[in-house]
Amino acid sequence: MKTLNDLTQGQSARIACYMPKFSAARRLMELGLMPGTTVRFVKAAPLGDPIALEVDGRHLSLRREDAAKITVQAL
């Protein structure tokens, strides 16, 4: 299963679901990362982590370890 962390620069994907017991899931959803939403992997930070995503025209940054807990369907 592909996760947000596996995307490459510029790639878009649709959020499928959150891994169980991921306590921050709710916070991330409130910020717009709802299952079914399309996200674009904008870029990784110069030191490799965290990564920047575009959701609904907004840029969000999250760490790779958290991104790896969100599965996606490639578009």
Partner: protein
């Protein structure tokens, strides 16, 4: 007075709107018991005045952080000294309306009348986002006013609408919850003890069941077990209804919002690339991004350091002038003179001397935040800090602590996570601040350079700037991993669109920060200065001066081969001799003072680090402010208090100091191991009353005390290790 709460997501221009509505009529402080900044202002509309509370920016009412806790408690009317608002003025970002209105829908359950201001109206138009205001009004059921706070557009209309709404009290149409949610709320209510059932409103039950938030129940005397039981009952019911209790509210609300609001928004998606993204193609670029960041930080740091210089010199010079003036008025009463000049004026000066750096740093911090760059800086630097439990947000506060820990500690307000904030605050005083520089310059100039040359001296000065950081980082790692056991925090950060900052916002922030510092930390810093003054002044018996004068006259008499009476007369007439005598008396007074006695008493503790009693007195006297060591040493070595770190006299006297007694009698006191121990001690020790005061103000006095005890103990141990190891080599 009517009370209006200003509520909205972060980065929606809430502060700009607040400043727009209140102007200079604002008060900044803290909420009782927490370190969340409380901003209250007065808005004049027509002939009336309303109080506006600027609540912290939040995405949701699910309280994860102290900021969000404050928002929920204030809106529920559950906070001491803060009454429940009469109206919520909700500010939403036109370019991201659906996500913004999530919080508005959550707030609707609290039953407070609401007006929605849709900000960034101009940017939305530029981005081809069309919002049907009439449709939105209908969908929400409350007045909706398009505004552009940054250009002060729509403010007059907003005020009129708010005034009307205070009378008509419109309520946002609540979301329709599925039956399983209603059942869950009932189940939770039924599981509560009877006495509380009536108190728990639907809004409270919502927050409890969805967020597992016990605070309301516990505050009303429900035992934690009963509270948990009620929450579990509710969540169980959600689960039975096929909902995931962890995200049911988010999923359901978003679905509702989409249904109701999406028809009012029309987005032309043909223009996809935003201006922010093209700026970011440089500012968060793999290579250029780092260069730009380092360049920017250099400018900020240099400016705090060098722009503040002239102002600090001015304050210092002004202080000197006032001291001379006041001193000349009080020359008849030496004790009052000393209290006024060395105590009061010195204390006031000690507070104001920090203002230039605080103001300049907050000028830049507001600029960095309001443009949207601060979030990018955190994005760039996060990796450097994540290994020890911090995030990129710690970078700017720590860097500014190299100029001075006071503004650095205050800058940690940009860190939301409370534990990360406290660790950053405790780490800040380890950064080598500019007040340590004179100590390094004195010691290196007097002892390292003559023995090892300029190259080693330069390298030593450079290395001393990293001692604190290198020693403290392992502690942060250990504290995080084994003591605080902070669960790995999800670091999620919105990178807002770039904006041009408003001059008024920048100036108001500088003004408020400066005022708060002077008011809160200032009083403590002032008090500490007075206490140290008293310890250095008392007891002051005439006998000390008389016996020093007699000894001095006797020495002069035997040197010149004259009678003692003649020598005494000479002391009166010869200015140079009189000055020398004054300095000796001052030195004798310091030795006799309570602080001098304390220094002599604790000297054995510092003997393991190779310090004699004079260094010990200097160290103790510099606890209010470390740079005081120079002038204290000047007084102790009978050179007067006007010496500075470049002073050749002071260097010579120190180089010639020898142990008077004991096994080391006759050997020089300031050897390389002793000098190294002194420098390491100053690098690590919490010798800054102002920093302790600010840490206490920003957190609680416990952390101030902890920082003081921890750093001082660490410095003492490190100084001993350096001296002992150095002596073996």
């Amino acid at each position: 007075m009517v009370r209006i709460a200003l509520l909205g997501n972060p980065n929606t221009g809430k502060s700009t709107l607040f400043n727009c509505l209140t102007g200079l009529r604002q008060k900044v402080g803290n909420y009782p018991g927490v370190t969340v900044q409380r901003k209250v202002g007065r808005m004049i509309y027509g002939k009336n005045i309303a109080e506006i509370i600027d609540l912290p920016g939040t995405y949701s009412l699910a309280a994860d952080s102290p900021d969000e806790r404050v928002v929920v408690d204030a809106l529920l009317g559950e906070m001491e000294t803060v009454e429940r608002p009469d109206l919520v003025l909700f500010i939403a970002d036109a370019t991201n309306l659906q996500r913004n209105l999530f919080l508005a829908y959550q707030t609707a359950q609290l039953g407070i009348p609401m007006v929605v201001a849709v900000n960034h109206w101009d940017s939305a138009r530029k981005k081809n986002i069309r919002i049907d205001i009439a449709g939105l009004k209908q969908a929400l059921g409350v007045p909706v006013v398009p505004i552009s706070a940054a250009r002060a557009e729509g403010i007059t209309e907003l005020k009129e609408v708010v005034a009307a709404a205070l009378v008509s009290k419109p309520h946002l149409i609540e979301a329709k919850w599925p039956e399983s949610v209603e059942k869950a709320l009932d189940a939770a209510r039924a599981a509560l003890p009877e006495s509380v059932r009536g108190l728990a409103s639907r809004a409270v039950l919502h927050r409890s069941v969805f967020d597992e938030d016990r605070s309301f129940f516990v505050r009303h005397g429900v035992s934690p077990q009963q509270a948990s039981a009620a929450i579990d009952a509710g969540r169980q019911m959600l689960f039975k209804g096929g909902l995931n209790p962890g995200n049911a509210e988010t999923v359901l609300l978003y679905r509702e919002i989409k249904e109701r609001i999406a028809p009012c928004i029309e987005i032309d998606t043909t223009r996809s690339s935003s201006g922010s993204e093209s700026i970011d193609s440089i500012l968060t670029h793999k290579v250029w991004g780092l260069f730009a960041f380092l360049g920017l930080m250099y400018v900020v740091f240099q400016s705090v350091y060098s722009w503040a210089g002239p102002f600090m010199d001015l304050i210092d010079a002004g202080k000197g002038m006032i001291q001379d003036q006041v001193g000349s008025w009080l020359v008849q009463w030496p004790m009052l003179q000393s209290l006024a000049t060395d105590g009061i004026v010195e204390g006031v000066g000690a507070v104001f001397i920090f203002l230039p750096q605080i103001l300049i740093l907050f000028f830049f911090i507001t600029l960095l935040e309001d443009t949207g760059y601060m979030a990018r800086a955190a994005f760039l630097m996060d990796k450097l800090f994540s290994w020890c439990g911090l995030s990129g947000k710690s970078f700017v506060p720590l860097l500014s602590s190299y100029a001075c820990a006071i503004p650095g500690v205050m800058a940690t307000r940009t860190i939301q996570d409370p534990k990360a904030r406290i660790i950053t605050i405790l780490l800040a005083p380890f950064m080598s601040c500019s007040a340590r520089l004179p100590v390094y310059v004195l010691m290196i100039g007097a002892f390292i350079e003559p023995s090892y040359g300029a190259a080693v001296a330069g390298a030593t000065l450079f290395a001393m700037h990293f001692v604190g950081l290198l020693v403290a980082m392992p502690f942060v790692y250990v504290a995080n991993k084994y003591i605080l056991k902070i669960p790995p925090q999800t670091f999620v950060l919105e990178m807002p669109s770039y904006q041009v900052p408003k001059v008024r916002d920048v100036l108001l922030r500088m003004y408020n920060q400066g005022k708060e510092f002077v008011k809160n930390a200032g009083t403590v810093i002032f008090a500490i200065t007075i206490v140290i003054w008293a310890l250095l002044y008392f007891p002051r018996s005439e006998e000390v001066a008389e016996s020093v004068t007699a000894d001095f006259a006797a020495a002069q008499a035997s040197e010149l081969g004259v009678e003692q009476a003649e020598a005494l007369a000479l002391l009166e007439s010869d200015e140079e001799l009189a000055d020398a005598l004054d300095r000796r008396i001052a030195s004798a007074y310091v030795e006799q003072s309570y602080l001098g006695r304390i220094g002599k008493t604790v000297q054995p503790v510092f003997a393991w680090a190779g310090f004699d009693w004079k260094i010990t007195v200097g160290v103790i006297a510099s606890f209010p402010a470390r740079e005081v060591i120079i002038s204290t040493l000047g007084i102790i070595y009978s050179l007067g208090g006007d010496v500075d770190e470049e002073s050749g006299d002071l260097r010579d006297v120190m180089a010639n100091q020898k142990w008077q007694e004991g096994e080391k009698a006759g050997q020089p006191i300031f050897t390389i191991p002793v000098v190294s121990a002194i420098m390491v001690f100053f690098a690590l020790c919490q010798q800054c009353g102002a920093t302790v005061a600010v840490i206490s103000q920003e957190t609680s006095w416990r952390y101030g005390l902890f920082s003081f005890v921890f750093m001082t103990t660490l410095a003492w141990i490190a100084a001993i290790v350096v001296y002992q190891v150095g002596s073996l080599l």
